[in-house]
């Protein structure tokens, strides 16, 4: 036994608890196997865990430790057991767990995080309830450092300024996105910004965020009511003085707060409040400190009074470019109207500044190289002329010294007059330089040059020609710059368009639409222009994608690529090992894929992606070529590379849908639909995602939510059969008082109309018609179907239809016809009747009053089922009752004993013990010792079994009500009623038990109400006489309650 083997064994043994009742545990039970993959850790950065925690585990997440805590929440590190990844879990602090206002805000935080889909915002994975019914939500676990920590590490405020400005630019971009979605953060500060290992920047802690325009919540009012005395910190990572966020009368962090927020003027908060915080952040980057926090007064007081003199002084002396200081001051303006209107405007000015800096740096490099060359030339020339120059200087000095004293006063006056002209010239040159880096400043530059000319013209002795030349140079340069910018913008538009068309892949997009789009995008551009275009690489890629290989080869005559374009598949396969550029590999992969060599194509794309991870086309193609579970990752990369592109989002959303990640897919597809409701097959895709989401909600018992989802799915795609059938199912169950029978049946009919061959849809429609006492319609439908199958149908189909006809006859008490149809169904299919069929026939005999026949056929059913070791108390119940009806008491008693013996024989584990207890508790034929035995079994089941298993809980409740203390089970029974619809026979039976339990504990009105619901069910729904357990429970409940 090797050491690493033992490690595996220890892990398997000690991980057992974590398997719990997770999805994987369920899958394991169903399939016998459980998938488990663990990827290598994606970062060497330290995990943010600060201490272990005893947080309550949910079914799916295992708590590992605590990351931090704030005013109302605790952030834990958790592990998603099913997916094997670490997550951050935010849970409410225990002391707020019962406060509905705080809970509502907490859920809103999760919803805001879940709906803001941007690389700069930590994605929320799931909102759920843990074992203690406390809400929690899980997010991506961000590994990295806070901006606060990074800023603190600097030796001086100048260190790494360019890097921090890039980070700041990303923060602004993220906030610009949030502002376009109508969300303001209200607590922006360095400790709420995480910087990852690869430079990715994410804004966290949206706990104070507010939704603008579409309502949202009155957060401060709610916070005041929720925690009137609380002034504690709501922040994951505490910062320096004044950087705590106050929950209570004022929310946010004073050191970064605009005056209107510090004064609690919540009505005035909008995007410009975040702009102020961005200015405060920029102030800290440039000067090392936020605007407030110095001096004796608290940061809150300083913020409320907008004491910004200190910050302005620091900014003026920080050595940053003047325009950057100006941007910061404008962000920090006390009056919101003076600030930039939102983060989008801040992005524009910051990006412009950074571009100008970049250009200046490049220019400086070039100028340095030119100056070096000139200096060498100058030195050479100077050596040749030095003697002559010396003589000349001596002569000039002699003459000048004679004239100097005479001309001194006049010269001084002229020079003084020329000073404003020189200043105007400097300003014009500076403006000219700035305009070359920023197109929008050419107007200023021209104005400055004209001002210089005017100044020169008005001043004697000034160089007017030079000033004129400067004006005309500015004009010329402006024209050239605008033309270049227009050409670049045109190229960029072309590239964007070609990339967009590239994303129209797969069956959702017709080939001719792509061809037409390419044709239109590239019309009017000849091969020569393509060759000369800066966008040549993208044009060639588009031509290859369009399969215009001749033109592509003309533009890009690389011999290897030409060969790839014309070669047959066998020749292509020989090229896969060639070392080529990533784009060449993309071309080869596309050709191989079209030749059916998908695996080879995928491998090539992986190779290309490894070399060029930021190549959008390669990432997207890899997503399209990857397996279901891998595809979303590559589409996500493509989406990050080209954020906001509709085709990319579509591909990503569809890939997540195919990977069954509906919670992520739905909002993304919804955003595509909002942008273009006719894009690809967005309606069908979104309908499918919404329907699947509805299924998930339905399975989780959130029926009202599911109903809305199904309606939405049908609105998007009226042909969605599943949504139709599930909507019908739900309509029957969402209202106890009055099921939407007609609407539900219409939904089932719609599903049958869409797919008449689907046996299950038809079965659902018929069984609900039968239950709703509309059996005549069911008979007619079944007969019509049978007729349509008489010539073309298979025996199996006819047999099934006959069985459905039998059920329909039975529902209108034509039991002879029903028995005949069922027997014919069995004969048509040529098999022996199964025990279920026999039992159904027995029930029909019972319902028509032929008890002797019922007893005989039930006995046959029991005999047949015994061969499969199947136990069913229902069979014995019917047998006993049939015997009793015909006065064969001793045979009835023997049947009871036989049933008991068989159950006892098998009761060797908790599951079967629970089943025995359940039978004893609901048996219409109780024995003298049954109560004691049932209670004993329940004790054993509780000791050994899974207490949450439905078999255990229902058995316990029934036993308690009949033999033990009903109060123990009232809560559970009440809760369990939510799982049953108004047409559920077992539900009605449990409702009778609930009514009895409520009566026993003195809640008499509630008991009567429950019994009333059952009475309504018994009169409006088709309840067969052979539903013995229900009739017995109803009878006992009525006797107890005295009706």
């Amino acid at each position: 036994m090797k050491s690493e083997e033992l490690d595996g064994g220890l892990e398997a043994a000690y991980r057992k608890k974590a398997r719990g009742d997770s999805i994987l545990a369920t899958i394991e039970r169903l399939t016998g196997a459980v998938p488990r993959v663990f990827l290598r850790d994606d970062s060497t950065l330290p995990s943010p865990l600060v201490k272990p925690a005893d947080g309550p585990d949910s079914d799916r997440y295992q708590v590992i430790g605590e990351i931090g805590r704030g005013g109302v929440g605790v952030v834990l590190k958790g592990r998603d057991i099913d997916l094997g990844r670490d997550v951050a879990m935010k849970v409410l602090r225990d002391d707020f767990a019962g406060n509905p206002e705080v809970i509502q805000r907490f859920v809103e935080e999760a919803q805001i995080g879940g709906q803001l889909q941007h690389p700069g915002i930590v994605p929320v994975y799931e909102l759920g309830l843990n074992a203690h019914k406390q809400p929690f939500f899980t997010m991506k676990l961000v590994k990295g450092e806070t901006l606060s920590a990074l800023l603190t590490k600097r030796a001086t405020a100048q260190e790494g300024r360019r890097r921090f400005l890039r980070i700041f630019e990303q923060v602004c971009e993220t906030m610009a996105y949030a502002h376009t979605r109508g969300v303001i953060h209200r607590d922006l500060k360095p400790s709420n910004i995480m910087v990852g290992a690869f430079g990715e920047v994410q804004i966290v802690d949206w706990g104070f965020a507010k939704i603008l325009r579409r309502g949202g919540v009155d957060d401060e009012r709610r916070a005041k009511e929720a925690a009137p005395t609380t002034t504690v910190v709501e922040t994951i990572r505490s910062g320096s003085v004044g950087s705590e966020s106050c929950a209570g009368s004022v929310m946010g962090t004073p050191a970064y707060m605009p005056p209107e927020q510090a004064l609690g003027e919540i009505d005035k908060l909008d995007e410009r409040s975040d702009v102020f915080a961005l200015g405060a952040l920029l102030c800290e980057i440039l000067t090392g400190r936020p605007p407030y926090g110095e001096g004796d007064d608290s940061a809150l007081v300083q913020a409320a009074e907008a004491r910004l003199d200190g910050a302005h002084a620091r900014l003026d002396n920080c050595g940053a470019d003047a325009d950057l200081v100006q941007i910061t001051k404008r962000c920090l303006a006390p009056a919101p109207a003076v600030r930039y209107k939102d983060a989008g405007e801040v992005v524009e000015v910051i990006s412009g500044h950074l571009a100008a800096v970049e250009e200046r740096a490049q220019k400086a490099d070039r100028a340095a190289a030119v100056a070096k060359a000139k200096a060498a030339e100058e030195a050479k020339r100077r050596r040749l002329t030095v003697a002559l120059a010396a003589a000349l200087v001596c002569a000039v000095v002699a003459t000048a010294s004679g004239l100097y004293w005479v001309d001194k006063e006049q010269r001084f006056s002229r020079e003084l007059a020329l000073v404003p002209v020189a200043d105007a010239k400097d300003a014009a040159l500076l403006a000219h330089g700035e305009a070359r880096a920023d197109l929008s400043k050419w107007g200023d530059a021209l104005e400055a040059a004209k001002h210089h000319l005017a100044s020169a013209e008005a001043t004697e002795g000034a160089d007017v020609d030079q000033a004129r030349m400067l004006v005309s140079k500015v004009r010329r340069d402006r024209e050239a710059a605008e033309q270049a910018a227009a050409a670049a913008a045109k190229d960029q538009r072309l590239v964007s368009r070609l990339e967009e068309i590239y994303t129209w892949r797969g069956e959702d997009f017709p080939d001719d639409a792509r061809a037409q789009a390419y044709d239109k995008a590239l019309s009017g551009i000849d091969a020569e222009s393509m060759r000369a275009s800066p966008a040549k690489a993208e044009i060639v890629a588009a031509l290859d994608d369009w399969e215009k290989f001749d033109l592509a080869s003309e533009v890009d005559p690389d011999p290897w690529c030409i060969k790839v374009r014309v070669a047959e598949i066998e020749s292509l396969k020989k090229l896969v090992k060639d070392e080529r550029e990533p784009r060449d590999l993309l071309l080869l992969a596309a050709r191989l894929e079209r030749g059916g060599e998908t695996e080879a194509a995928r491998e090539l794309l992986l190779r290309a992606h490894k070399v060029a991870p930021k190549d959008f086309r390669i990432a997207f193609a890899l997503g399209a070529a990857s397996e279901t579970n891998d595809a979303p990752r590559y589409f996500q990369i493509a989406s990050l590379l080209r954020s906001g592109r509709i085709g990319t989002d579509y591909g990503w959303g569809v890939s997540m849908l195919e990977a069954k990640d509906m919670r992520s897919a739905t909002p993304l597809l919804e955003s595509v639909y909002e942008r273009d409701s006719e894009f690809g097959k967005i309606r069908l895709r979104l309908a499918k995602a919404t329907q699947m989401l509805g299924s998930s909600d339905m399975n989780a018992g959130r029926l009202d939510v599911a109903k809305t989802q199904f309606r939405r799915a049908l609105e998007l795609d009226p042909d969605n059969e599943k949504a139709s059938i599930q909507l019908g199912w739900i309509l029957f169950r969402t209202s106890i008082e009055k099921p939407d029978v007609d609407d539900a049946i219409e939904a089932f009919r719609n599903a049958v109309r869409l797919n008449p061959e689907h046996p299950q849809w038809r079965q659902m429609l018929l069984s609900h018609l039968q239950g709703a006492k509309r059996g005549e319609e069911a008979v007619q439908m079944a007969q019509e179907r049978l007729e349509s199958l008489s010539e073309s149908g298979t025996n199996a189909a006819r047999s099934m239809c006959l069985a459905q006809l039998a059920d329909s006859y039975r529902s209108i008490d034509r039991n002879d016809d029903a028995i005949r149809s069922l027997r014919l169904a069995l004969k048509t299919n040529g098999g022996e009747p199964a025990y279920q069929d026999l039992f159904k026939i027995a029930r029909m005999y019972f319902e028509k009053g032929d008890y002797a026949a019922a007893a005989q056929v039930t006995r046959e059913a029991i005999k047949s089922s015994a061969a499969q070791r199947r136990l069913s108390a229902y069979y014995y119940d019917l047998l006993v009752m049939s015997f009793r009806k015909v006065g064969r008491a001793s045979e009835a008693a023997a049947a009871i004993e036989e049933c008991r013996r068989r159950y006892e024989e098998m009761a060797v584990n908790w599951s079967w013990k629970a089943q025995l207890a359940w039978w004893l508790a609901r048996s219409p034929h109780p024995g003298a010792q049954d109560g004691e035995r049932a209670l004993e079994l329940i004790r054993e089941v509780e000791k050994e079994g899974d207490k949450a298993n439905p078999i255990c809980v229902v058995a316990k409740a029934l036993v308690n009500v009949r033999y033990g203390n009903p109060a123990d089970s009232v809560d559970w029974l009440e809760a369990s009623m939510k799982g049953y619809g108004p047409t559920h026979v077992t539900g009605a039976q449990h409702r009778c038990v609930l009514a009895m339990a409520l009566w026993s504990v003195g809640r008499k009105d509630d008991a009567r109400e429950q019994l009333g619901i059952v009475r309504k069910f018994m009169t409006t729904w088709k309840v067969y006489a052979s539903e013995l357990a229900l009739h017995d429970a109803y009878r006992r409940a009525r006797e107890m309650i005295g009706e």
């Binding site: 036994m1 490690d7 590992i64 584990n909």
Partner: protein, 210 residues
């Protein structure tokens, strides 16, 4: 316990069913997944144990080991169910394409779950022993839980417990040895043969998790 169950002792029968149910269910689940018999797994599991208690257990001998016997019973019950199903009216040939023909992969599903059952027994045995040995041994169990259940490195546990990492590493080595001993004990109760055979069986069980 197996002999006790074979003799009809209720407590042993219960323990037997609890211990081996996952392996039997895994085998049948893998065999019938997505097929028409997927809903019959519970019945078939019941039937396997029914057969065990009705005399099959008495056939467990020293030569074959119990794993092979239980596997054989599960396979026979599965085949019987399939045969029965074929005779029934719902049978359609196409449905059966979902039943995997490869018995090897099915036995792997069984063996994996079997291995998990044995490791669980070893863990329980170690916990029982620790209760007798005292506080230090129980603390070693907690150490293994933190290491493997919570995935914490020893240095983090040392920080958490305010203990020296060197000391905890020694305790960890001791805990591993204790687990190993328990595993060998449990395996030897299920598998006939000499030490070498037991060691081979242990490696066989552990390779599912390494």
């Amino acid at each position: 316990m197996i002999r006790g169950a074979a003799a009809g002792n209720t407590e042993d029968k219960e323990q037997f069913a609890r211990r081996y149910l996952p392996a039997v269910r895994a085998y049948l689940g893998a065999r019938w997944r997505r097929g028409p018999l997927a809903g019959d797994v519970d019945d078939a599991v019941q039937e396997v144990f029914f057969e065990c208690f009705k005399g099959a257990l008495e056939r467990a001998d020293e030569q074959r080991g119990f794993r092979g016997l239980l596997y054989g019973i599960a396979r026979n019950v599965a085949r019987r169910h399939e045969e029965r199903r074929r005779k029934k009216r719902e049978f359609q040939a196409s449905e059966w394409s979902a039943v995997p023909a490869d018995e090897g992969s099915l036995s792997a599903a069984f063996d994996r779950e079997w291995a998990q059952s044995i490791l669980d027994l070893a863990r329980n045995r170690q916990a029982d022993n620790a209760r007798e040995l005292g506080v230090d041994a129980e603390r070693r169990i907690r150490l293994l839980e933190l290491r493997f259940e919570d995935g914490l490195p020893i240095r983090d546990i040392a920080r958490l417990w305010e203990a020296s990492p060197e000391h905890l590493h020694r305790e960890y080595a001791k805990a591993r040895k204790e687990f190993r001993r328990c595993l060998v004990d449990v395996v030897s109760e299920h598998t006939p043969g000499d030490e070498e055979a037991i060691e081979r069986e242990c490696s066989h069980l552990l390779h599912f998790f390494s």
